[in-house]
Amino acid sequence: MATIKFVQFDGTEEAVEAENGTSLMNAAFDNGIAGIDADCGGECSCATCHVLVDEAWLSKLAPITEQEDSMLDLNPDRATNSRLSCQIPVSDEISGIVIQMPEFQY
C-alpha cells in the first residue's frame, strides 16, 4: 500500500491509498481523481495521463523508457519532471509521493 497525494492545477489536494502493483494512472482513476484522461487505457500510447512528479521523488522512480520518452515528447508543455502516470507502478517505496496535475492533457 502507498499513499499518493494528487495536487490539481488549481492547488486542490487529495490523498489516496493505492495497492502495490497498480499504476498511478489507475490509482487516480479508481479514486475519481480528475485531470487524467488516459485515452489509451494504460498502453503508453497517447500521453493523456501526463503528470508532474515532485522533484524529490523523481530519483525513486524507474527511469523513463524509450517509448515513454517518445510519447512525452509529443507534448509541447513537457517539463523536466514530466512522466506518464500509466508507467509508474505503485509500491511501498513511493508511499507519500506528490503528483502535480498539468493544466491540460494534450
Binding site: 489509451c40 509529443l74 508543455d77 493544466e103
Partner: protein, 417 residues
Amino acid sequence: MSEAVNNEERNFDPYAIPMDDKFNVADGFLFEADEQWKWFERLRNEAPVHYCSESEFGPYWSVTKFEDIMHVDKNHGIYSSEGGITIVDQDEDFPLPMFIAMDPPTHDVQRKTVSPVVAPMNLAKMEGLIRQRVCTILDGLPIGEEFDWVNRVSIELTTQMLATLFDFPFEDRAKLTRWSDLATADENSGIVDSEDQRREELMECLTYFGRLWQERAGKPGDDLISMLANGESTKDMLDRPAEYLGNLILLIVGGNDTTRNSLTGGVLALNQFPAEFDKLKANHDLINSMVPEIIRWQTPLAHMRRIALEDTILNGQKIKKGDKVVMWYISGNRDEDAIEQPNDFIIDREKPRHHLSFGFGIHRCMGNRLGEMQLRVAWEEILKRFDRVEVVGEPKRVISAFVKGYTELPVILHAKK
C-alpha cells in the same frame, strides 16, 4: 450513372465468397455503399490478421481487432510509416514527404515545430473566434426548408477553421477545401480527371503557400505557416518544396476531412439513435462525452498503413519484411471485445475516448483536441438554436477506403419551441 449501375449489380454479401487471399475490403465502392461493416465483422471473426494477395493497391495485410491495431500503432520500430500512411502507394514521380509519413528522428523534430499551434493553451485562445464563426454560419441557415448540411455547415465551418489556423486569406478559403479534396480523391471519385490535373493543382497550392511563407519568414507568428517558416528544424523547408507541399497537405487534410465528416456524422447518428438525442436535449453537458463518441462512431479516417521493417508475427500470422500492413481503425472501433455494443451510438459511455480514430503511439493525431473543441462548440450552438436537425434523405458517401465521409446530407431544421 455507370457507377450507380456498377454498385447495384454488385453482390455486397461478404459471406457469398470464400475467406481466402482474394477477400478484399480495400474497395472505395464498398464504403460508398456503406456495405463494409459485415466484411470487417467477418474478418474480425475468421481472420483478424488477414493477407489479401491482390487489390488495386497491391497485396496488403488487414488488421481488424482493436488490440492488434494498438500493437501495430505502438511499435513504430517494426511498423514503419516511411513512404506513406494510406493503402495507396506514393507516386514515385511526385513524392510528397510529410512528417506523418516519416519515422523518428525526423518525424519527431518536425512534428514538434508545428504542434504548439494546437496545444491546449493556444486552443483556449482560439475558441472565441471559432464560436463566433460557428454562430454566423448557423444563424444564416434556413428553418423548415431542405438544404445540404455537408455543403452549408460541415464544409464551410471546417474550411473557416483551417483558414484561421493558417492565417490564410479568408476570401480565398474555398481553395483549401479544393486542395484537401484533391489530395485524397479516389481515382473513381470524379474529383480529378487525371493525375496530371491533380499535380497541376497541387503545384498551384505550393505556389500560393510559397508566397505566404516568404511574407512571413523572419516574422514570428502564431499561425502554422509562420511556425514552419521560423521554426529551427523547418525554416529551410522551402528549399525542399516537395516536403513543404507534403506537410501542407497533411495539415490541410488532417484539419479538414476529419472534422467535416464528424460534423455530418453526428447529425446522422443522432437521427439514427433518437433516444440518444432525447438524452442530449435533456442534458446538454453530455456534449462532452458525445463528441468523442461521434468521432468513434464515424471514424473519419478508415485506416492507416505501415510497412514491416523486419519479419515479425502478429496474432499468429507471419508478416514479412516489406509487407504492407493496414490498420483498419473503422473495424477496431466496432470490435466488441474492446467496446461494448460497438455498433450503437451511445453518448454517455464511461470511457468515450477509448477509441482508435486518432491512432495511438507517436503518430497519434496532433489536432485531436482541436477537432473535439470544434465539434463541442458546434453542438453547443446547434442546441441553443434548433429543436431538431432532421435528416430527410439518404446521405451520399465518399468513394474511398480512406476518407470515410459524406458528400451530401439533406436536412430540415426545426425551430426551437
